[in-house]
């Protein structure tokens, strides 16, 4: 008959023994110490953690192939500089050097091994001069200035089709963009803006033919779509303007500019225009200011359109103008 209490006692003392014998090794391992069986001493080491994308790369440490493949950690390394090479078939190798410090974990966890033959695909099926990517709708728009055609495809190049033609007399396009509703685009050069409609069946009373807005007295620097896909924010060499994308629309001058080519950024999510303009200080020196012009209310724009040109806009720190 088994003597359970004896077995239990033996188990208990064995567990206690295991705990007290094992604990120093566990803690030493955790703290990065290596036990040298010859000298019976612990020495402090460091480790390297390697993670690659994709996994499975061979790891060479100072030219020596390690048994583990990435992701892997190489532990118990004596402090010092190590050369690391990572190799994966059909991928560019990765090489680097690392200074391993005692008690520290050096991480290489953001390594991407790029394929030797990149996964390259041609998307366009026709010639083009510039393109725009719409990640939201997963579409590519191509502009062929020479043949005056606009194409569209999906992000894989599929469904490649022409969606609009450009006006014949529109020369030297300097910029273009697609509206937020993806139904139209504008093109512009120094003295003209053209709005081209992709979809004739829109809700608005749009014309099928392009809308052309002439700026014979000013030079157009930049144009942006307002988020309503109807108004255009125009920066000329003289003004910041807003104009409707309809025939014979009159622009409203929101801000008079000192600088001829004011750099600008339009935040379409917030409908805010950031632009810089120069200003002269009392001592005569010229310096730049950065302005934010909020255009985020449809009512705001409507208000301007209804009251112009009688009211002047007041912009903080800058004089606003009516037309």
């Amino acid at each position: 008959m088994l003597n359970f209490q004896k077995i239990r006692s033996s188990l208990f003392y064995f567990s206690v023994f295991l705990f007290f014998i094992g604990l120093p090794f566990i803690l030493a391992f955790a703290l990065g110490y290596k036990f040298n069986a010859r000298t019976l001493r612990f020495s402090k080491t460091g480790l390297i953690y390697i993670k690659t994308q994709p996994d499975g790369a061979k790891i060479y440490l100072n030219g020596k192939l390690m048994p583990a493949r990435s992701p892997a950690s190489i532990t118990e390394l004596v402090p010092g500089v190590y050369k690391i090479a990572l190799e994966l078939a059909q991928h560019y190798p990765w090489r680097g050097e690392i200074d391993v410090e005692a008690g520290k974990a050096s991480r290489f966890d953001k390594i991407i091994l790029f394929p030797l033959r990149p996964d390259l695909a041609q998307l366009n099926q026709e010639r083009f001069s510039s393109f725009r990517i719409d990640t939201e709708k997963r579409a590519v728009y191509y502009l062929d200035q020479e043949n005056k055609v606009v194409y569209k495809s999906n992000l894989d190049g599929g469904n490649f089709e022409d969606i609009a033609g450009l006006p014949d007399k529109f020369a030297q396009i300097t910029g273009w963009d697609i509206s937020a509703d993806k139904k139209k685009m504008f093109i512009f050069n120094n003295h003209q803006i053209g709005v081209i409609f992709f979809d004739t069946g829109s809700d608005h009373d749009y014309s099928d033919s392009p809308v052309l807005l002439d700026y014979s007295q000013e030079k157009i620097i930049n144009v942006f779509w307002h988020s309503d896909s109807y108004h255009l924010i125009v920066l000329t060499n003289k003004y910041v303007q807003v104009v409707e994308s309809r025939p014979r629309a009159l622009p409203i001058n929101l801000v008079k500019l000192n600088k001829e080519e004011a750099p600008a950024f339009y935040d379409a999510k917030e409908d805010a225009l950031y632009f810089s303009d120069s200003q002269r200080s009392p001592n005569g020196s010229i310096y730049n200011n950065l302005y934010k012009l909020e255009l985020n209310s449809d009512l705001y724009l409507l208000g301007i359109l209804m009251t112009q040109p009688f009211h002047a806009l007041n912009l903080k720190g800058k004089e606003g103008l009516g037309e």
């Binding site: 239990r8 188990l11 705990f19 094992g22 955790a30 703290l31 460091g46 480790l47 520290k104």
Partner: protein
Amino acid sequence: MNKDVFLKRVLEIIPGGLSWGIIITLILLSILHPVTSAVIIITFDFYWIIRTVYLTTLLILAHHRLKRQRNEDWFASCLELPLDRGFKELCHLVIFPVYNEGLEVLRPSLNSLSASRYLKENFIVVMAFEERNIAARSTAGILEQEFGAKFGAYLSTFHPDGLKGESRTKGANATWAAKAAKKYIDSRGIAHEHVIVSCFDADTCVEPEYFGCLSYHFLTSDKPHQASYQPMPVYNNNIWQAPSFARLVEISSSFCQLIESMRLEKFVTFSSHSMSFKTLVEIDYWPVNMISDDSVIYWKGYLHYNGDYRVVPLYITVSMDVAYSSNIWRTMVVQYKQKRRWAWGVENFPFVVSGFIKNKNISLLNKLRRSFHLLESHVTWAVWAVILGGIGYLPVFFGGVFFNQSTIAYNLPKITGLLFQSTVLTSLIWIFLSWTILPPRPKGVSWLKNVVLVLEWAFVPVIILILGSSPAIDAQTRLMFAKYMEFNPTLKGNRVV
């Protein structure tokens, strides 16, 4: 504040103070000195791995004993004992303290008792009702009619409410019943030495061989009056109907009790148990103002016999109800309250240590050992899940760039992962063993339930987080602040509450 009250309060504060001290210190260390904290956590993790493997091995051994002994013909073994052992004279006083359990709970308990393979004329059954329970008298009447003639004696007692010095506890009711039974026993001229008293929860169903097994161990034990006899509690009455969450908790409780049965130096009575009636009278019955009467009765015996008192494990099961309710949330609350009541066993610590201070006949070593075991078990209960499930991750969280570049920060999650893997391994053993103690699947329960019984073990981490340490912290904190708990009976649900 007099000296005794001051001492009691100090002893009441110690367990909770230690538990909170450990938790707060580790949190602060994680913020201020993450390396030290990580070292402590890794030490605890390693300790826990070894402890889990050790306890699981004990569980396997205990389970082996249970499988071997539960099917033995104990009654026949008793009959084979020499006449001078006194088997024929041995009486069993069986007390069922009833709180507000109805016939649907009490009938199966009495049925199992009447189905015992034993001399029924040697049974004195006491159904101990609470007088404040309105239905008590009618329930008692029905049961008397049904079971009165099946045993040597059958008594119904009604414990008055609000007696001086008493709390509303099971122990108060059991003591009242035991005193009533004493009158009966004395009137019949039965020697107390020949009576074994079993105090069972109202839903306790005994196996047919239970009293044979108990009698055999009592009659063959060295100093039988200086021992309590502890069967293995299982929660099989309604285990097939109970929700996974509750079932897992109760199976784990059964396993913990099996493990404890292998650690005799720590083994303490729990829930339904038996002991010598002579001893019970000598130590003045169960405590009438403490919730953990089941374990306190052991300590009373231990103090009375100057440390020469033990618990004899009986490898035979008594089956009780899984505590659950109508939905998962209520079940969690029921389980939480039950575990908190068990954790309230921490009130034993001031009781025992005060007793040790007054008792000059127990060796100092024994006093220190038993006090340490008691304190360590409650403090470990209160902190283990917090450390493993929460604080273990704090050094990496709070450590900052400098710590996170260190080897120990890198190795901490790996060692914690090792702990998890060892837990999974031991869980597989627990799953297998849990199968073997299940009652046969009742008719009407789909075989798919067998699959559920395995898959449900995936909930163990969730259960650990909810019920691992929080009931113990709750109980210890209440004791620290002298917010004494009232007895809160578990809703028994072999008939869903």
